[in-house]
């Protein structure tokens, strides 16, 4: 158990170290405001990353999530604009749509034996295209319920806000942890990641599990879309381009292997926070040009991954 959790410990250690460095340079980084922001601003990312973690542990990948978030926003905004439905009803509708969308991709992956990379790439085109077809313009949402959700926060000492969105993310991570580590479904996910043929021989219901995994990812992408629409009070088909790559990066930084079969949900949370920390650090620094921003993000990503590898090697050989 402890050996298996090493990547997780390494991730946590590196994150804390990084935070310490940031704090030494900018003491304001330890304010509750920054901590609250870290949770709120990365809520949508954390939620998709929960779905992505499950997919990646099963040995798959889901490139469609960024587009699904954008689609969700547009879907909600357009329905709220066109009908008098309560947002909660629209949310339920949306989650049904994205879950079925994910399940359909899972079904294709299983039934047609096609690689997830390609199926979800097509799904990525499709979801964004569907968003465009609903509206090419950004659609504002002005439902009273949205204001309620935005204003739902707990003011921490120091004016930091612990928002509903942040809490939804933490709850998603917690639910994801339970699902992954405490249910038979979760073990089946690891089993698939360990080897599909073997898992099949051991009696794992491969088809059902695959469909469920992508349905779950679709569901989380939908939930993330809801959170994102609350975050921005709008739906915009061009939103969240490339978020799938951020989510993958967060999952990997969190110590999950892209080859599948190993990883921790909690690590993903740390990965998301790490990405957020990098972002915050760059804004605090404020001296980087557009291009140096990209280079520094890349360099920091590399550093985290190398540090993690280094730490693991040290511990294993020790």
């Amino acid at each position: 158990m402890t050996i298996r959790a090493l990547p997780l410990y390494a991730t946590i250690a590196i994150f804390l170290l990084a935070y310490l460095i940031c704090y030494i340079q900018f003491p304001a980084m330890l304010s509750t405001r920054v901590i609250g922001n870290l949770l709120t601003d990365n809520a949508y990312l954390g939620i998709v990353a929960v779905g992505m973690t499950v997919v990646i542990i099963s040995g798959g990948i889901d490139l469609s999530v960024g587009s699904v978030i954008a689609f969700s926003g547009v879907f909600i905004a357009v329905i709220l604009r066109e009908t008098a439905l309560h947002p909660l009803v629209v949310f339920a509708l949306l989650l049904a749509v994205t879950t079925v969308f994910g399940a359909a991709m899972g079904g294709m992956i299983h039934v047609l034996a096609m690689p997830p990379f390609i199926v979800t790439l097509a799904g990525m085109f499709l979801a964004r295209g569907a968003g465009y077809m609903l509206s090419i313009d950004s659609v504002p949402i002005d439902a009273a319920f949205y204001d309620t959700m935005q204003d739902a926060y707990y003011l921490m000492p120091g004016k930091g806000r612990l928002t509903l969105l942040g809490l939804i993310m933490l709850a998603s991570v917690a639910a994801g942890m339970i699902m992954l580590h405490r249910t038979r479904f979760g073990t089946n996910v690891y089993a698939l990641g360990g080897g599909e043929a073997t898992a099949r021989l051991m009696g794992v219901p491969v088809g059902r599990t695959t469909v469920a995994i992508y349905a779950f990812s679709g569901f989380m992408a939908g939930l993330s879309g809801i959170v994102f629409s609350v975050y921005t009070s709008a739906g915009y088909p061009l939103a969240t381009v490339g978020v799938e790559l951020n989510a993958i990066a967060a999952v990997v930084i969190g110590g999950t292997l892209l080859t599948g079969g190993s990883g921790y949900m909690f690590g993903t949370l740390i990965g998301v926070l790490t990405m957020g920390l990098i972002q915050t650090y760059i804004v605090f620094d404020g001296s980087l040009s557009s291009w140096w921003t990209k280079i520094v993000i890349g360099a920091l990503l590399l550093m985290f991954i190398l540090l993690q590898k280094g730490l693991l090697r040290l511990r294993v050989s020790a």
Partner: protein, 295 residues
């Protein structure tokens, strides 16, 4: 003074010029500018503004990537009593939430281009092809709408093909090539309207390669007034461009400084001029004036 500047990204030469000009302006005024590049993502911009608030800057400049979705973060800034100035694009939040907006009217730009074309063809039949910006982006939507308004009065002008060129030269050229193929080798096209100059520059090359003369066989009108289009104007390969000045920061800093000094409220919308340039406006000189602005 410390001012945070949340820029959309560096997706075009114009955008890069805006960044450069803003930095130059800040330096000239002795302002400590905190720059943040959002890589075309609203979520990054919101996060950046929140970080600016957490840092306690004196003022914030934002070039919003999209019009919607700014309410809550602007409210937070208002609560922290940090004035926010919008650059070059508008938001649809309540005007109380920001100090002022500096920019041009995107619809108006399109209209200027359209009106120029109406005048240029002077009543002759004209089949126009349109290169749109990135699907869904507000300049693409507004400039399309403005142009359509501009030519609405003229029955002789008709948009026959309209595709997205993603604001880039490569796609502008590629899409123009297929327009030329589809429209009888270009013989049936009378004018090109491009949502930005970069696409127009790409399209001009496509027209030349197809053996036609841009500027004569096919009229070219576009928006932004970046240096390269002036070269094309000088060479007679483009006909008109509508200026969008990259110096949005100058008026913005003026307004901020006045407000921070004694609370003077500026106007809610400081509109920059949308000047039309044609081949008659000494394009070579305009090119020289602009080429070092970081476009």
């Amino acid at each position: 003074q410390t001012i945070g500047f949340s820029q959309i990204g560096s997706e075009s030469g114009w955008r890069a010029a805006e960044t450069t000009v803003t930095q130059q302006e800040a330096e000239r005024r002795g302002i400590d500018l905190r720059f943040s590049d959002a890589q075309q993502r609203q979520e990054n911009q919101i996060a950046a503004i929140r970080s600016f608030i957490a840092q306690g800057v004196d003022g914030i400049l934002v070039a919003p990537v999209v019009a919607t979705g700014w309410d809550s973060v602007l409210e937070e800034a208002a609560e922290a009593e940090i004035p926010v100035v919008l650059l070059d694009r508008m938001v649809d939040s309540s005007p109380e939430l920001y100090l002022t907006a500096v920019g041009s009217d995107l619809v108006h730009e399109g209209r200027v281009a359209g009106e120029w074309l109406v005048e240029a063809v002077a009543g002759e039949e004209c089949r126009v092809v349109e290169l749109q910006g990135t699907t869904g982006s507000s300049p693409a939507i507004d400039r399309k709408q403005g142009f359509e308004e501009g030519i609405a009065s003229a029955d002789n002008i008709e948009i026959v093909r309209s595709q997205t060129g993603d604001f880039t030269r490569t796609r502008g050229k590629e899409v123009m090539e297929s327009f030329l193929q589809a429209e009888n080798g270009g013989a049936d096209i009378c004018a090109l309207y491009a949502h930005n100059d970069d696409m127009a520059v790409g399209a001009i090359q496509a027209i030349k390669e197809a053996g036609l003369k841009p500027g004569e066989d096919i009229l070219v009108v576009s928006i932004d007034a970046v240096p390269d289009i002036f070269q094309a104007l000088a060479a007679g390969e483009a006909n008109a461009t509508v200026e969008l000045t990259p110096n949005m920061a100058g008026p913005a800093f003026d307004a901020l400084e006045a407000y921070l000094a004694d609370g003077t409220m500026p106007e809610k919308f400081i509109q920059t001029e949308s000047k039309l340039y044609t081949q008659e406006d000494d394009p070579q000189a305009e090119y020289e004036a602009r080429k070092d602005l970081g476009y």
